[in-house]
């Protein structure tokens, strides 16, 4: 079964910047290790929420606004796509994502498979 692991974190105060270079490298290594898993079939880090543009179409016209679709504290920062036997396996990978232990959340949702 394929699952999307959607990574949400608070971009506000930039905990990232308070970390030493060594700590930042260690975290990058962890993210890359998950990307490199045989179960991982897709992965992307997204640029910050401030770079987002949201599109809605109504009355035949496209409405374009600056920013992510919802002004929430936690913003989608990236995702993994994993192919695993069951939910427990997906949850275990999700628990390894650094954002999950640094105040963020990872949503695990099964993909529609045809």
């Amino acid at each position: 079964m394929k699952y999307a692991l959607l990574i949400y974190s608070d971009e506000g105060f930039g905990t990232w910047d308070t970390l030493s270079e060594a700590e930042q490298n260690a975290l990058r290594g962890e993210y890359m290790a998950i990307s490199a898993l045989p179960e991982t079939v897709g992965a992307q880090q997204l640029q910050p929420g401030t770079t987002a543009t949201t599109v809605r179409v109504a009355n035949g016209g496209a409405l374009t606004t600056d920013g992510p679709f919802a002004e929430t504290k936690e913003v989608l920062g990236g995702f993994y796509l994993v192919d695993v036997p069951d939910l427990d396996a997906a949850l275990e990978i999700a628990a390894r994502i650094p954002a999950a232990r640094m105040g963020g959340s990872v949503e695990v949702r099964p993909v529609v498979e045809r």
Partner: protein, 376 residues
Amino acid sequence: MLANLIGFLGDFDLAEEAAQEAFAIAAERWPRDGMPDNPGAWLTTTARNRAIDRIRRERTLAEKTRLLEIEEAVEDDVDEQPFPDERLELIFTCCHPALAIDAQVALTLRTLGGLETDEIARAFLLPEPTMAQRLVRAKKKIKAAGIPFRVPPPHLLPDRLTAVLAVVYLIFNEGYSGRGDLSGEAIRLGRALAELMPDEPEVHGLNALMVLHEARRAARFEDGELVLLADQDRSLYDPGAIAFGRAELDRALALQGRGPYVLQAAIASLHADDPVDWAEIAALYGELARVTESPVVELNRAVAIAELEGPEEALVLVDALDLDGYRYLHAARADLLRRLERRDEAAAAYARAIELTPDGAERRFLERRLRELEPR
């Protein structure tokens, strides 16, 4: 049998329907042809075959199912072929953390307890359609999200077992406050768990705890009004239940159990004695507080300390706790203040406890205490 079918088919509804069909066929055939040698196996095989037939009829080319790889068994051929008891797998599936706790409780009662949807709805004071929907959504989630049907592997088992025990205890507590039926259900579930996992001390601990509580049920109320532990008529305690509870506790202790349920059971066992060994109870609460880091446990310990060292000592402990929204904190404080004859403060504490307590025997008790404080 149902657990086995659910495991085989991976689908709760399909398993239920197949089971019903098998029973219908049996009701028709057995009077005519005679009982098979192994009725259980016959039913299970029949149910499986009916389900396989149905899936084959309904499947599309794109649908993959592992069932088609399994050979269809011949109904009459089955003698002693043992079907695995998959109730354990079922309990862990029903109590998977991906399901909301309400759903875990409802699903456990429905599939393991065998309760009908309307019975469960009544037990939780909800309309039947609401409970039916809760069950439907839970089953859908299990399927859609790929919750595995299995006993969790060793590295996940401790947390998952804790979750299962929590669900069983929740069911027990819903029954304990009045609706007796559910507590019996929880005890049954606990016994099944003990059969399936005989080497888990906390399972025996929970069983001991529930049975020891249940043993004192008849003494807890008189004419619908609350009777305090100290005033309870011990002749109303069920000696068989106490004996069984203590046997389960011994079993847990023999397995080196020292977890939260074992400790609570040990405390419950001591409460059934006369006189009560408050020193030992206080020590056990101390151990429980270290294990759980729970202020509620600390509150209970303070109550035991009151019996040992007096209300003044206990009040110091209680005032250090951060449990302002917890009605038993205020009830306990009120009682301690009452014993210290600080009437105004006691009255205020009783009032606060009453605010937090819904209608019923407990609230009436607190109101009586408050009235008793009024100057004559």
